[in-house]
Symmetry: C2
DNA sequence: GTCGTTGCTTGCAATATGCAAGTAACAAAG
DNA sequence: CTTTGTTACTTGCATATTGCAAGCAACGAC
């Protein structure tokens, strides 16, 4: 069965399978990546802002996840200052497209984890 | 800030934060768990059925994830035969509640991973 | 010259993942 | 009675990932 799919279109090859969920999880399936997306959606954009979320992500993990999100086209890294060079991370349209996914997770999570609460957007500087 | 939350209601303590997304990811945030949920939604229920999905999950990982899903109340393990004892896994109502999450992931995934396709439900035996 | 800020990198220990083989409890077949 | 097959796992071990904590570079402020 998977043989057929592989020969069906050899321009399309998927790491694990042709299921959309599988492919999404190849990028987002860990404990931190969607939290980084959450923070970017909430308006955080700088490294220290992302580091300071209550979950206290490790710095090397944050750097790793941002790099992967950039490579996947969900995030762009752009300088907001030149000397010294300082960067902010912004969601692309593709990344913004994950809002309904976060929304669905929030809906299910609020129902099954009483007492949880959605974090507020950050004030723009 | 997190101090306040911690003292606010010490009956409610969360592993990493009080965000619903964080808590959901504590259970579901890896590459395999939502795929197991997907297969159960599609009607698979036995261990070999789950093992045989195209992604070829490792047996020890599948066993580990099913145990965790059972502990989290998303799945029940029940015997469908006594001698020898043989088990099937079924989603609970809580587990079924993840369908919108999978739906949102599929919607985003199909848009951004062209060529992916939703797997069909399995025929009931 | 020193200190602070920002965005990382690095070394290393702990934990998770996954390969491949193995196990147990049965029934069926010979 | 023995062998084989099925099913649902467990186990040992190598590899990969995670995360702690310290460190680094490039600036400006003092």
């Amino acid at each position: 069965m998977t043989d057929d799919l592989e020969t069906m279109d050899d321009k399309l090859t998927f790491a694990r399978s042709c299921c959309p969920i599988t492919n999404v999880l190849d990028t987002l399936g860990d404990k931190w990546t969607l939290l980084v997306i959450r923070d970017l959606v909430l308006g955080k954009s700088r490294y220290q802002e992302l580091l300071s979320s209550p979950e206290r992500i490790a710095s090397n993990i944050l750097a790793d996840r941002l790099k992967k999100l950039e490579a996947a086209g969900l995030v762009i890294r752009q300088a907001y200052q030149q000397k010294p060079a300082r960067y902010e991370y912004l969601l692309t349209e593709k990344g913004e497209g994950l809002k309904p996914v976060l929304g669905a997770i929030v809906a299910w999570g609020q129902e099954h984890y009483p007492g949880t609460m959605v974090f507020p957007a950050v004030e723009r500087r």
